[in-house]
Amino acid sequence: MGEGLYQLDENGRLVYLNPAGERMLGYSLTEIRGRKMHDLIHSHQPESDDSPGKECLLQRVLQDGESQYEHQDYFRRADGSSIPVEYTSSPLVVNGQITGVVLSFRDISERKHAEAKERRARWEIEAKSTEIARLNAELEQRVRLRTAELETSNRELEAFSYSVSHDLRAPLRSIDGFSHILLEEHGDELDADARHCLSRVRAASQHMGQLIDALLQLSRVTRADMQRETVDLSALAQTIVDGLKQTAPARQIQVCIAPGLHASGDPRLLQVALQNLLGNAFKFTSKQERAEIQFGSLQQDGSTVFYVRDNGAGFQMEYANKLFGAFQRLHGVSEFEGTGIGLATVQRIVRRHGGRIWGEGEPDRGATFYFTLS
């Protein structure tokens, strides 16, 4: 739009109005030359504050001789409409006398429009932020409640499975005990087939006992409070291996434990994990003439990965995804005894430490189990 400019004499009458000013005000200079501009375009404005308190800057300029700036006001156009303006009025001084005023003004409709838009946008953003904060708080509350529910439900499930496993032992003892007594004290009254049936009853009840023990251990692993301290894994593995060797002193076993292996974790849980992994290695190499078991570590993507490797029965990689399922076995009971819970237990322990576990194997060429603890 440009800048409108007009000049007034010392009485406030129009001397000059520039073309831009003519356009903005809707008057031609010839129409209004000599008219008092204040009366024409400024006073009696419904929007402008014409109260006695607010003096027209024009007067001030004429009196004081100093430039004044008004950042927001309204001028009336020829057609009666108002335009929002900002203006600067400066005195014209000739020989020390104030002979008039020059006023430059600018239409600030766009600025006002932009300001209004910005205000509106800010209100909307505030309203939306408040809404988001409210929704967030609601969501967090819901998550808290749901987590508490899940935790309770989990605890109840664990308590239930624990007490069920525990109580299942009692009748199992009876089954084992009395079938044993039958065999021992009445064995000679029974034929070979009857004795055979009884020993199968005994074997089954003992297997069930092992399953219950494994389940109880798995449940304990989940429920136990985690302590974190530095654990010497090499020493732990050595102790476990020594214990395993004692159970079968006749076996030829070569064990290689890397020295100085340690990790931050719960010592009791890590013991259970290594007991399971090394115990498995020990068990599944039982058919090898010379068993080879290794426990070591390697670096992968910046973290430490531990591994237990053996040269035993191995497994088919196509079943690798079943390795860690509870009660899942990749070998028949007649090949190797077991509960199918050991690896599920190790996985739970590893996960509680924030790590992961995976296995690689080849039938009859052995298996390696890798795990991280963070």
């Binding site: 525990h166 032992r169 199992l172 003892r173 084992d176 005990g177 009395f178 009840s205 006992g209 219950i212």
Partner: protein, 146 residues
């Protein structure tokens, strides 16, 4: 009955029978008195209730105490025994169904003398009973049982 008997506190009749057989197998021929819950055990030891009229001075050589008992449970019986001056010195061997139960009893520090685990395998139980007998009933001269 001399002061030579074993007080077995056990509510499960199967386990009662198995324990008595295990004792016999372990070569312990001491007479066995059975109380079927904690209240009965305390009645017996105090010669009251259903055992009123028995000679209160006759005390068992050792108490085999199961933990899970109806009415008055094993821990309470243990507490009573240790609190009563007259009964304090009787050895109590607790029969526990799991390591956790053992830990629990230990943590209460109620003064059990020893623990026999109750494994599913009867043969193991006989062996554990035998070890218990060797320690707490050493002067047993009974003939070897079946």
């Amino acid at each position: 009955m001399k002061d030579n008997f074993i007080l077995l506190v056990e509510d499960n009749p199967d386990h009662e029978a198995l324990t008595i057989r295990a004792l016999k197998r372990a070569g312990l021929a001491n007479p066995v008195v059975v109380a079927h819950d904690g209240a009965e055990a305390l009645d017996f030891l105090g010669a009251k209730g259903i055992h009123a009229g028995r000679d209160i001075d006759q005390l068992p050589r050792v108490v085999l105490l199961d933990l899970k008992l109806p009415r008055v449970d094993g821990l309470e019986v243990l507490q009573h025994l240790r609190a009563d001056q007259r009964l304090q010195r009787i050895p109590v061997v607790v029969l526990t169904s799991s390591d956790e139960e053992t830990d629990l009893v230990r943590s209460y520090r109620l003064g059990a003398n020893s623990y026999i685990p109750k494994p599913v395998d009867f043969v193991q139980f006989v062996e554990a009973t035998r070890q218990m007998g060797l320690f707490w009933l050493p002067t047993n001269e009974a003939p070897r049982g079946g």
